[in-house]
Symmetry: D3
Subunit: 61 residues, 6 copies
């Protein structure tokens, strides 16, 4: 039943997202011992206006 949410800066290609969900699903299956069909992943793309570290937006860094 693991549900994984991945927030990342926008701009990754579909090919990278496809690879990411394959690899993260495998990582969960191998480490937690749950079947792959129980692993759900939600991706959220953030714009650089919507992410801040140390009080500074990514678009200003």
């Amino acid at each position: 039943m693991p549900i994984v949410q991945v927030e990342m800066l926008e701009g990754h290609t579909l090919a990278k997202k496809r690879l990411m969900v394959e690899k993260v699903t495998e990582a969960i299956v191998e480490s937690l011992g749950v079947p792959a069909d129980k692993v759900t992943i939600i991706i959220r793309d953030m714009s650089k206006e919507n992410f801040s570290k140390a009080g500074k937006l990514a678009c200003d860094q």
Copy 2:
């Protein structure tokens, strides 16, 4: 004070969203016994590129 977040695949009409928030609010009020005006719902639309089950993106299924 319940705060409900609903992640769903994009493409639902405004009419469906309107009905959904009415019905989910009622469901929370009736089951938990809180007043309707304390129930907040956030909807998040996911593209098919951003949802994966069993290591496969929804856009590839």
Copy 3:
């Protein structure tokens, strides 16, 4: 595929949680037209120390 997260103040009985997930699942099925077995709900219990409205913790209200 809807994934529903419900944040609520702690202290609800198991019977209320059971009723809540039944009713919220029905509400999603009826409004969005998805099958019940695609509806996942995560409940998160908040202590009164961990919820604030208008700058005041629930335990101080």
Copy 4:
């Protein structure tokens, strides 16, 4: 390590977002005593179709 997620109605200018992340970061630093470079903020813009209070979407209020 605090990670702050801010859901807000869309339409705020970049200048307001910039000010918000500065001020929220300061607020976390001063109250919790963590260094600013450990404070991460994610902003999520909601459309008025995607926010409901008391069973009514913001776009219908």
Copy 5:
């Protein structure tokens, strides 16, 4: 309507949490121009077993 979620390592006193929600609420009010009674904050305490940076749990660092 801003809803703020703050994930932080467990162990902060009630006094620190109280100060944090006051200051974060003020920061939101001043930067976004929303009234204080529209600002909701949810705090989530993480144990050191439940937070990882660079592939290492906080309890192992």
Copy 6:
């Protein structure tokens, strides 16, 4: 900057969590091409009373 949140049923050992964050971090690094020290993972343990599929709590299945 990816931030990964993993919701899973409680009861996994510390050793499993340690392995999981190592492997998920690697998966993100290899697929998205970001450095490991930019990858943050938050784990949330759910009790069986707090997870529902198809309208039924995990503790009732």
